[in-house]
């Protein structure tokens, strides 16, 4: 990208709220049911039926508002967004326009220079999802699955504060973490529970006025968001530099071809004829309600990260990594609670081997095969020198495969570390005797050979000698 251009991005994130039933009907919201088995007469928009607000969504939206330091509206209003589409049963979507439930929030991301950057959240409003049109396997006809119709969504609209695809992803990840921390969305992007539209424009660096934007629709993975935005930015810059003009339009990202394509231009855009929905009363929220919700708020990612740094003295990004998901942070803290070892050792194990094993087996932390207590048991054995860090990796794998606790594995496999100085000394003596040439070189000043001797000793002891002791004894004996 040419340095002469500034990229301006605003995101509209749709987070599906984790309610048991739909926003305006009692139908279940579970994913993956047979088509149209989770749609009742209200979802189907039958003549005479009426929407009734699921109060749970109000609580969830309030939590979100509090989490991003926003104003939770004492009075918000549902409006109808009118347009015709087969997967929109009533011919209108119930949403919020002029008076959304959440306004004026903010959160902080880390920008490319490592600085904290504030991103404004203009608003978050409640709305119902539409159904789904199905074209595959239906020959010339189309099918409609209304299971998703009426699923509650929180649409979270950012200010155009994002300046790169990377920032957009960082922002979206923050929101993703927050909604999952709050337990108000499962954030499952594959199932469409968390997706976004990106408004993208470019302008000459230094120009005040915003460029004409294109809206990229329905981006549902962090990878695609980054790729789609970058491709779109490139397209816009090329276009302008070739003397063309960006038109305001809706575009679709095609991941197969890695390009964005026009869906409809502004001229073709619908006039949605919004007006307040007369079937629903305004949502009135009292101060008491907000305070009651506030009392139930969990510790949020930013606060938790700060506390981890403070309380556990974790290095680098570890606190951020551990707090990226609430179950992971909870797991880490459970390990900490069950060991006296330094927190950093526990952090290394959770971030390193545990995360690696989960990743390798495609598991979530909720499905972890070693409990926090068991991992603490392993960490304890490292800390009390029963085993070395290296042997511990072997023990960990055995535990992962279900061979029992750390102690069970150490006992069964005879992995207990040799800490008996005389036993180590005997091995050291043997190694010195077997390698007179290297001893001479070392004593002539080639310090680096210490690694060679350590390796030999560890080989002889099958890795079970305490490395610290090996080092010390070797140095002592070689010098004499």
């Amino acid at each position: 990208m040419s340095a002469a251009w500034e990229v301006v991005i605003g995101l509209e994130i749709h987070a599906q709220l984790a309610t048991k039933s739909k926003i305006f009907s009692g139908s279940p919201t579970a994913y993956g049911a047979e088509p149209n088995t989770q749609a009742n007469l209200v979802d189907l928009g039958y003549p005479g039926v009426l929407p009734v607000l699921n109060k749970e969504v109000v609580r969830m939206a309030t939590m979100f508002g509090l989490a991003i330091g926003a104003t939770v509206a004492r009075r918000s209003v549902f409006a109808r967004k009118n347009y015709f589409y087969p997967d929109l049963p009533k011919g209108y979507q119930i949403s919020q326009l002029e008076l959304p439930i959440v306004e004026h929030g903010e959160l902080f991301i880390t920008d490319a220079n490592g600085n904290e950057k504030r991103i404004g959240v203009t608003r978050a409003h409640l709305e119902e999802d539409a159904g789904k049109s199905i074209h595959e396997g239906l020959d010339a006809s189309s099918g409609i699955d209304l299971n998703r119709a009426g699923t509650p969504l929180l649409e979270i609209v950012s200010e155009p504060d994002l300046r790169s695809a990377k920032e957009a992803v960082a922002y979206m990840k923050k929101i993703h973490t927050i909604v999952r921390y709050l337990g108000i969305s499962d954030g499952n992007m594959q199932e469409g529970s968390f997706r976004c539209d990106a408004n993208v424009s470019v302008r000459p660096m230094g120009q005040e006025e915003l460029g004409t934007r294109a809206e990229l629709k329905n981006l549902n993975s962090f990878r695609y968001i980054e790729k789609a935005i970058n491709i779109e930015v490139e397209r816009q810059i090329d276009l302008i530099e070739d003397g063309g003009k960006v038109v305001q339009e809706t575009r679709l990202y095609d991941s197969d071809r890695d390009e964005t394509r026009s869906m409809r231009s502004k001229e073709e855009a619908n006039d949605y004829r919004y007006f307040p929905d007369p079937d629903l009363l305004p949502v009135e929220i009292s101060e008491e309600f907000i305070e009651a919700v506030r009392a139930t708020m969990p510790e949020l990612p930013a606060a938790k990260e700060a506390r981890f740094v403070d309380e556990y003295s974790l290095k680098g990004d570890d606190a951020g990594i551990l707090t990226a998901s609430r179950p992971l942070a909870d797991y880490f803290e459970a390990v900490i609670a069950a060991t006296d070892a330094p927190s950093q050792i526990a952090a290394n194990w959770v971030i390193g081997d545990l995360a690696g094993a989960l990743n390798r087996d495609g598991l979530d932390i909720e499905d972890v095969k070693i409990s926090a207590d068991e991992l603490a048991g392993l960490v304890n054995r490292i800390h009390d020198n029963t085993i070395s860090g290296k042997i511990a990796k072997q023990v960990f794998e055995a535990m992962w495969e279900g061979e029992g606790s750390a102690d069970d594995v150490i006992e069964a496999r005879g992995l207990k570390q040799i800490t008996d100085s005389s036993a180590i000394e005997a091995v050291v003596d043997k190694v010195i005797a077997d390698n007179p040439g290297q001893v001479a070189e070392y004593q002539a000043g080639k310090d680096k050979l210490i690694g060679f001797f350590v390796g030999k000793v560890m080989q002889e002891t099958k890795g079970q000698a305490n490395p610290g002791q090996v080092n010390q004894i070797l140095k002592d004996k070689l010098q004499s």
Binding site: L44, Y46, G48, F84, I144, L281
Partner: protein, 487 residues
């Protein structure tokens, strides 16, 4: 024994109670009348004879078992706007000519639970849009008092049925006068309760913020009896109000001495037929003779009610009727070329002219650039009108005036002039805009055609309207008159 069909619900209830006749006998008698006479009126879209006789037998059995609901065994008719499970529910439209509802409206459920026997579904203006019943896909309903005349609308099938003694009561809905104006034009009683008093669940929406269900009967006492069953909070309708339902029958006999009756000057202006005005004034005089006093009240913005209504109601209807798209239910055009063609032709074929006119008006007033000037402005005026009423009710208990500007007009007379047609609701619309209860009570005849006295009450003032109507009917015989061809 007086002929069953001539009796009011109250009289029929007593007859059933005494065992003078069974519900099956009563139901059969009325079904026979419908079969013999409805060709002249076209008041029914669907007659549910078999279901009715079954329900009547159940009611008789319940009575024998000592299990008597408030309306046990009493026949009623439902306006075809109420969804009735397993029965065609057309809303007077070709669009729903093939629609069998899979569920019952709350009103239908409540009346059935009270033991009422449903004879069928009554004809109406298409989607309740009309004041003459001429917009129905099933043809106009005729007025039993003069078959050349309209029975009013949109609940014209209900008003004609009750006037023709097909049933003592029929449900209706009222968005701008659709219960009260047909009641006035057929010499029946029609009450539209406070907005939120009766659940709208299962009532096919025309203009959601104005629609309210009510009932057409021949006496205020019967209206009280039926409304008491229909009313009440429904968790399935967010706009229904959780307010206790009084026992309307308990106070209906109380005196109206000291009642303060407001008279709105504008309601007796040039638009009112002189003779109709004279009957209404005479009726007010009767009420005064019972100890009420009259006070002139001012509703400075009431003249704006018709234009306000014709912005708000079409706006809501344009959205409410979007669901009729030929996709899931209702009329679907054949051999659609593509989606747009399916929409355009299904709706083009399924809706009649008046419905299309209102959808287009509504889409226009909500469109970008016009919303503020029309919809928003209309909502502001609506608030002013509501405030006017509120002020007026600080000084009076009811407001009295004519229900409609003239007696029933000839079918075909106004059908080509929407504005003239709309003006028929000039006195009734205000109550809808303000969400107030109102009743029309027969108060005489002009050239042998009935006219109605309109009483508007404050929010949840149904009790005083029913009491006032009942006390007036104790002094008058208008409601007992039966059209000659239907005696």
């Amino acid at each position: 024994m007086m002929d069953m069909h001539l009796q009011t619900m109250t009289e029929l209830a007593a007859g059933l109670e005494k065992g003078d006749f069974s519900s099956v006998e009563l139901t059969q008698t009325l079904l026979d009348r419908v079969a013999a006479l409805d060709d002249r009126l076209n008041a029914f879209v669907t007659v549910t004879a078999a279901e009715a006789l079954l329900a009547a037998a159940r009611a008789d059995a319940a009575r024998a078992a000592g299990n008597v609901g408030a309306l046990n065994g009493l026949p009623i008719i439902h306006k075809d706007i109420f969804c009735t499970r397993g029965v065609k529910t057309t809303c007077g439209s070709k669009m729903l000519n093939n629609f069998i509802s899979p569920y019952d409206a709350t009103v239908v459920e409540k009346l059935a639970a009270a033991g009422a026997v449903v004879l069928g579904k009554s004809n109406m203006d298409e989607f309740a849009m009309g004041s003459s019943n001429e917009t129905s896909f099933f043809g106009p309903v005729r007025n039993p008092w003069d078959l050349e005349c309209s029975p009013g609308g949109s609940s014209g099938g209900s008003s004609a049925s009750v006037a023709a003694r097909f049933a003592p009561a029929a449900t209706g809905t009222d968005t701008g006068g659709s219960i009260r104006q047909p009641a006035a034009l057929t010499g029946t009683v029609g009450i539209k309760p406070t907005y939120g008093r009766v659940s709208r669940y299962g009532m096919i929406a025309f203009a959601s913020s104005l629609d309210q269900a009510g009932v057409i009967t021949r006496s205020s006492e019967d209206a009280a009896r039926v409304l008491g069953v229909m009313a009440g909070f429904d968790e399935r309708d967010s706009t229904s109000i959780d307010h206790p339902v009084p026992d309307y029958l308990a106070t209906i006999g109380d005196s109206i001495k000291g009642l303060r009756v407001g008279i709105v000057r504008q309601h007796f202006d040039a638009g009112l037929d002189e003779q109709t005005g004279a009957r209404v004034k005479a009726a007010i005089a009767v009420i005064e003779s019972l100890g009420a006093t009259t006070v002139e009240v001012d509703l400075p913005n009431i003249d704006l009610s018709v234009p306000t209504y014709y912005v708000v109601a079409p706006a809501e209807c344009s959205s409410n009727l979007s669901r009729f798209d030929g996709v899931r239910f209702g009329h679907r055009a054949e051999n659609a070329e593509d989606l747009l063609d399916l929409y355009c032709r299904s709706r083009g074929e399924g809706f009649g002219d008046e419905v299309k006119r209102r959808i287009m008006t509504g889409a226009y007033v909500l469109s970008a650039g016009y919303y503020d000037a029309y919809y928003l402005k209309a909502q502001q005026v609506r608030q002013l009108i509501a405030d006017d009423f509120k002020k007026a009710f600080a000084d009076v208990d009811v407001i009295a005036g004519p229900t409609a500007p003239s007696p029933a007009f000839k079918l075909g007379d106004k059908v080509d002039d929407p504005i003239q047609m709309y003006l028929n609701d000039i006195y009734t619309i205000g109550a809808n805009l303000a969400g107030l209860p109102a009743i029309s009570v027969p108060c005489g005849f002009v050239n042998d055609m009935p006219v109605g006295l309109h009483l508007v009450g404050p929010h949840f003032g149904e009790e005083v309207l029913l009491r006032c109507g009942h006390q007036y009917q104790q002094q008058t015989e208008w409601h007992k008159a039966c059209p000659e061809a239907f005696q």
